[in-house]
């Protein structure tokens, strides 16, 4: 009897220790595990508007990279099956407000005188690495409304630098004055977010159970919202369709 009691206490204690360690280590992953995710597809109804070609002759090193495949604008990037890329999907209402920023940095790379990716989404306070992979100087010039504006050069070969954003803003236009065609967005959101890929698919992870308003933002077509309810441990789905003007 006595030994049995001893073992039970030990087992309980070990379980407690393990549990606290798990909490300490994984932080919000516990939340995510208990929460669910939202997946879906963004589609474009109709044909995408004509995307003008970009003439990079001013910057021969960049022009050489795109010699075989001419570059066009990326204001509306539609996939073959009508999927719409570069749409930021985020939760605009219903968050508890306790969501911490991910510690994983996102990055924006200047390559071939384009921003890769064209649209970057990240959390308030999340780190963003700015990388110059080109053989030329770029200046990164975001023009936010809710965050401080800055404008910084990055010579070729300079190390990446790190940026964070203090306030939510969807979305901050980013440009390079040296290469005026360069154009991208940084969407600063709070809580889980997803960006659609070429096929239009997106996924928001770590959404705690509850009902939310989901917003999809596209740089040309603006925003769409819909309500979605996430049950514990079960992925919710939400699809968006933008209509070409």
């Amino acid at each position: 009897m006595k030994t049995e009691y001893k073992y039970r206490v030990l087992a309980l204690f070990s379980a407690l220790v393990l549990f606290s360690i798990a909490i300490l280590i994984s932080g919000r992953t516990v939340d995510a595990a208990s929460g669910g995710s939202i997946t879906g597809k963004v589609k474009l109804n109709g044909t995408a508007p004509h995307q003008r070609g970009i003439d990079m002759s001013k910057e021969p090193t960049c022009a050489a990279i795109h010699k075989d495949k001419p570059v066009t604008m990326e204001n509306v990037v539609a996939g073959a099956d009508g999927g719409l890329a570069d749409v930021v999907v985020y939760i605009s209402q219903g968050l508890s407000g306790n969501e911490g920023a991910s510690s994983e940095p996102v990055s924006i790379t200047q390559k071939g005188c384009q921003y890769i990716p064209h649209v970057v989404a990240l959390d308030v306070g999340q780190h963003m690495k700015v990388i110059n992979a080109d053989q030329t100087s770029h200046n990164i010039h975001p023009q936010p409304k809710n965050n401080p504006e800055w404008n910084k050069s990055q010579p070729p070969g300079a190390p990446p630098f790190d940026v964070t954003w203090a306030n939510e803003e969807i979305a901050v236009p980013v440009k390079c004055n040296i290469h005026p065609w360069m154009h991208g967005y940084v969407a600063v959101v709070k809580g889980p977010f997803g960006v659609s890929d070429e096929s239009g698919s997106f996924k928001l992870q770590g959404v705690a159970p509850g009902s939310y308003t989901l917003t999809a933002w596209q740089e040309t077509y603006g925003t769409q919202t819909q309500k979605v309810t996430v049950a514990a441990g079960k992925p919710a789905t939400a699809d968006f369709t933008f209509t070409a003007k």
Binding site: T136, N139, H141, S153, A158
Partner: protein
């Protein structure tokens, strides 16, 4: 204005007591002169270090400059200069050099110290204005330097600060926010200081000359300071309003220089109707005379020293003065040659081209008289005279390139290339600095009572003379090959073959800059350890050499010297010495000045 009548009231004949009154807020023109010189020295060292950073960046763009990253994290991350920081350093280099070195040292520095002495006065006409003039300039300097430490760093628009780049504010990119505002404020303050200074110089020259000191009997250095102050009075009086309007455009939303319909970063600017050429006109109305503010005192100083070294007066004292006057007068009529391709009426370009070519005549007269006077002289070689001769050589080299730039048709090709950079660095930068060096080696014994080391001085001269030619001659070649100035990197295909020349220039610049340490050492060492200087070490004639070295507080000990002769009575036949001092009542046979 209410201070004017203080002139004589404050002429106590005992020096003021206490460190602050003696050395900081001193009313003594000699202390103020040294203060200007010291400020110029700080500015020139800063400016030179900036030029090193720029030169290094141009040829080794990936070289991390130690410590620079600490000064500006954004501008030079890890010590690597960004394009905007290059332009910011360039702007600061230009502003520091033009305003705080070329204006301060030969004119305000030496002028303050020696103008009253050379005309036999106890002090300047308005000693309080004089003190205010220096301290305003000092505040202007602090405001400008503060730009290094504000938000997005120092101004970027160049020392000419062309609107609208300089006027639209932070929207135009880094370096156009607080830094540029500080620039405009600093220059406005600087103008006030220079106006007070010029007022003083003119009044002093006209009113405080001692008995017998007619205008024609003033030494050439005094003449040059006097003419410079006349130029400065009118030039800075125009730059000041321009800066006020620029500050208002930047801070109060007015549109003096900002036209309508400007779109910056896809945003339509809220300004309307301003004229960008208006800034250029106002600026260059000041800007070109400013060139002569830098060079005329150097011409005067060099003439003064050369005469002493040649042991004979110039071929003509008066022709030199007339030439200086002509240069001063014409300097206002030529400013448009900076704007040949600016979109100004092409007829105006021709109208400005003619006086520009005309101004070469008095300049040539000066050069010919300097060289012609060497003929048959008994040239004594000292460090001071070496620099004076070097000045002539530099002035000729920098001057002939003026022939090209004075012609609108050639300016189409050469405008804004390194040819221009070479031209003005030689004729206004290096030549004026050679004037300063000559003045320093010549007058140091008088100012500090100790001799400078001649050997070090000569080493300094040789290395500097050859070094500056190595830097600035190739600039002209670059310009001929259409190398555009104010580029932080040379990415254009046609510029690639020129990179070697740039490397050569950078190495020469680093070398020549390092050579200046010899001068600095000589200056500091001689100040404390140099041999004691006699009253008249160079056997010179003008009034500054009639007093002990250094001069007592009230210059002539309360006595008013009486002047009997023209300033340069050298080579007197039959005299025990070959010279007669200005205040010597000795009757002399010949006045060698041909007039």
């Amino acid at each position: 204005m209410h201070d004017m009548s203080h002139a004589t009231e404050h002429h106590a004949h005992t020096p003021p007591q206490g460190f602050i009154r003696n050395y900081v807020f001193s009313l003594d023109h000699k202390v103020i002169g040294k203060q200007y010189y010291g400020l110029g020295l700080v500015a020139v060292i800063t400016g030179m270090v900036l030029s090193w950073i720029m030169r290094i960046h141009l040829v080794w763009p990936n070289f991390a400059i130690p410590g620079l990253g600490l000064l500006s994290k954004a501008g030079a991350p890890g010590g690597i200069v960004t394009p905007e920081y290059y332009l910011q350093l360039m702007t600061m280099h230009g502003t520091l050099m033009v305003f705080f070195v070329l204006t301060n040292v030969p004119f305000a520095g030496f002028g303050n110290y020696f103008l009253p002495i050379q005309i036999g006065a106890e002090d300047m006409a308005f000693p309080r204005f004089n003190m205010m003039s220096f301290w305003t300039t000092f505040v202007a300097f602090l405001v400008l330097i503060a730009a290094f430490f504000v938000g997005d760093g120092p101004p970027l628009a160049g020392w000419t600060s062309y609107a609208p780049l300089s006027a639209v504010g932070g929207a135009a990119g880094p370096g156009e926010a607080t830094g540029q505002t500080l620039w405009a404020i600093s220059i406005a303050i600087f103008c006030i200081g220079q106006l007070l200074g010029s007022l003083n110089f003119i009044s002093t020259t006209l009113d405080l000359r001692t008995k017998g000191m007619t205008l024609w009997r003033m030494p050439l250095s005094t003449w040059s300071w006097f003419i410079t102050s006349c130029i400065g009075l009118t030039a800075f009086a125009v730059l000041l309003p321009a800066c006020i309007l620029l500050i208002l455009d930047r801070t109060a939303g007015t549109s003096f220089f900002i036209p309508s319909g400007l779109v910056i970063n896809d945003k339509l600017q809220p300004h309307s109707g301003g004229s960008t050429l208006l800034w250029q006109h106002l600026f260059w109305f000041f800007g070109h005379p400013e060139v002569y503010i830098a060079i005329v005192p150097a011409m005067g100083i060099v003439s003064h020293i050369l005469i002493n070294s040649m042991r004979r007066p110039m071929l003509s004292h008066r022709v030199i003065i007339y030439s200086l006057l002509a240069i001063g007068f014409l300097s206002y009529m030529v400013y448009g040659h900076h704007m040949f391709v600016s979109g100004m009426n092409p007829f105006s370009s021709l109208a400005f081209s003619f006086p520009t070519l005309l101004i070469t005549i008095p300049s040539t007269v000066l050069v010919l008289i300097w060289i012609g006077s060497l003929y048959g002289s008994k040239l004594r070689i000292t460090t001071a005279s070496l620099f004076a001769l070097g000045f002539i050589s530099m002035f000729v080299s920098g001057g002939v390139s003026g022939f090209f730039l004075a012609q609108p048709s050639l300016d189409i090709y050469l405008h804004a290339t390194y040819f221009v950079v070479g031209h003005f660095h030689m004729v206004m930068g290096v030549a004026a600095i050679f004037g300063m060096f000559a003045g320093t080696y010549f007058w140091f014994p008088k100012m500090f009572g100790r001799m400078m080391n001649e050997t070090l001085g000569r080493v300094h001269f040789w290395l500097t003379f050859v070094g500056t030619y190595c830097i600035f001659m190739p600039f002209h070649y670059l310009g001929l090959a259409a190398n555009v100035r104010r580029y932080s990197a040379f990415v254009d295909d046609y510029l690639q073959p020129l990179l070697g020349v740039h490397k050569f220039i950078t190495i020469a610049a680093l070398f020549t800059g390092a050579v200046q340490l010899i001068f600095l050492y000589n200056l500091i060492h001689s100040r404390f350890r140099g041999a004691l200087a006699p009253a008249n070490p160079w056997e010179a004639t003008s009034l500054e050499w009639t007093m002990p070295s250094p001069p007592p507080f009230d210059n002539f000990g309360g006595r008013h010297p009486v002047v009997y002769h023209d300033p340069y009575q050298y080579g007197i036949e039959g005299a025990t010495n070959d010279y007669v001092m200005q205040d010597s009542p000795e009757e002399i046979k010949s006045v060698r000045d041909e007039r």
